[in-house]
Amino acid sequence: MRKSLFIALAVLFSSCTNEDTISYLLNNNNETLQQDNTTNQNYQYDIYYFRVKK
């Protein structure tokens, strides 16, 4: 915990102005940082068929 707090302090002063960090925190408003299994899975394929001209 002490180590985590130290890291947190270091990160705070080094990257707290980082827009993404702030954005990340804003987006976690009143949420815990624990993840559940919410997932998004997507896949796609393209197939191009070639033939000899007739």
């Binding site: 915990m1 985590s4 707090l5 890291i7 947190a8 302090l9 990160v11 705070l12 990257s15 707290c16 980082n18 993404d20 960090t21 954005s23 990340y24 925190l25 804003l26 987006n27 976690n28 408003n29 009143n30 949420e31 815990t32 940082l33 624990q34 993840q35 559940d36 299994n37 919410t38 997932t39 998004n40 899975q41 997507n42 896949y43 796609q44 394929y45 393209d46 197939i47 191009y48 068929y49 070639f50 033939r51 000899v52 001209k53 007739k54």
Partner: protein, 423 residues
Amino acid sequence: MRTTLQQISAAALSIMIGLSFSGCSNNDEPASNNGNENEVRFEARADIALSETEAQLAKQSVDFSIRLLQSANKTIAGNEQIALSPLSASMALSMLNNGAANETQEELMESLGLSGFSVEDVNAFSKRLMLELNDLDNTSTISTANSVWLNEGFTPKKSFTGTLTENFDAEVKVKDFSEAKTVDLINEWCEEKTNGCIQDILKELSSEERMLLINALYFKAIWNSPFRKTEEGTFTTFQGEQQEASFMHKDETRFLYSESETFEMAEIQYGNNAFGFTVLLPKEGVGIDECIERLSGEEWLEAVEAMKSTLLNLKLPKFKVGRTDNLTNALKEMGIVKAFSKNADFTSLSDEELTLSTVLQGNSISVDENGTEAAAVTIITAPTSSNEVNPQPIDFHADRPFLYFIKEKSTNVILFMGKIGKI
């Protein structure tokens, strides 16, 4: 003043506590650690640093994406739902571009919005995207795979296969298309490259085909903040019918948000924010097809760049779309005509007189929440912006037809997009 200091202190303490658990660190620890499989550490996001040429190519890719959506919406049967991958389509067309020559190539470059760029620039940009997209978020998985399947007896030019191997990491395989096991081999390749998701893409293969060019793209990610509430509700379809649906929702929560004359846009972020799920919701009274028709790449980019952290009451239906479409007509609609005709010029690919016969695209997207088991680590209270005193949340309810875009933050390259006109 004291109150302000207290607010700042409280916010700073929240940030410190949050960061101590959120792990905005640059270490190489895996996403799950501390002996708790449900805990995820997001590593800090980094931009893909683009050169001026690459930035222009990225901008053109957005324009291509919107035009592809418009063409698909016009030409695909059963267009109440559309699922496309512009990244994959443009990557496959870029591979094809290397085999095209003269007017066929000019037409391809123009349709991709790449007139004025060299084929080498396009190849190099595709290579960078393939290499870097997968390293942006330690909690997301992106796999891109390309392959060229040659019917035995067909000999492509070495310069063509060499370019595809060098720039697109394409595997080149020679098989007898008249043998049934070739279909199995191609299906196995696709299955392997998409984590088992794509199975049996081919049922049969005509020995008339001389070559197949296949691109596969797989993306899996977690929300950076999970939805914890789901409720049943009504979705009004594009035909005005009422349909029951399960809505994930978050109230009084900050999301990136913007609005234009005809639509609102909100973004739900994945993992460390490198990728986002952007929902484009036409304003009441604006039809989804009208919205698609009026949309341009420029307007889409303006809306994305205008998005600001805003308090929303957001509702999004869980949905799953899986479909295979013949994109031939959509590509023709975009101006790629010669490649499909007797006038096709693929002399950079082979000395044989080739023409493109068909283009199929299969796509599956699933947006939902699968699990709920999670133990609390800590709670973050978001600091309040100085110019927002008790802001009223805006309702953003995707309970009518909407468009979605899964995009990368620094380039705005669209990986997947679609239209949900019904659930």
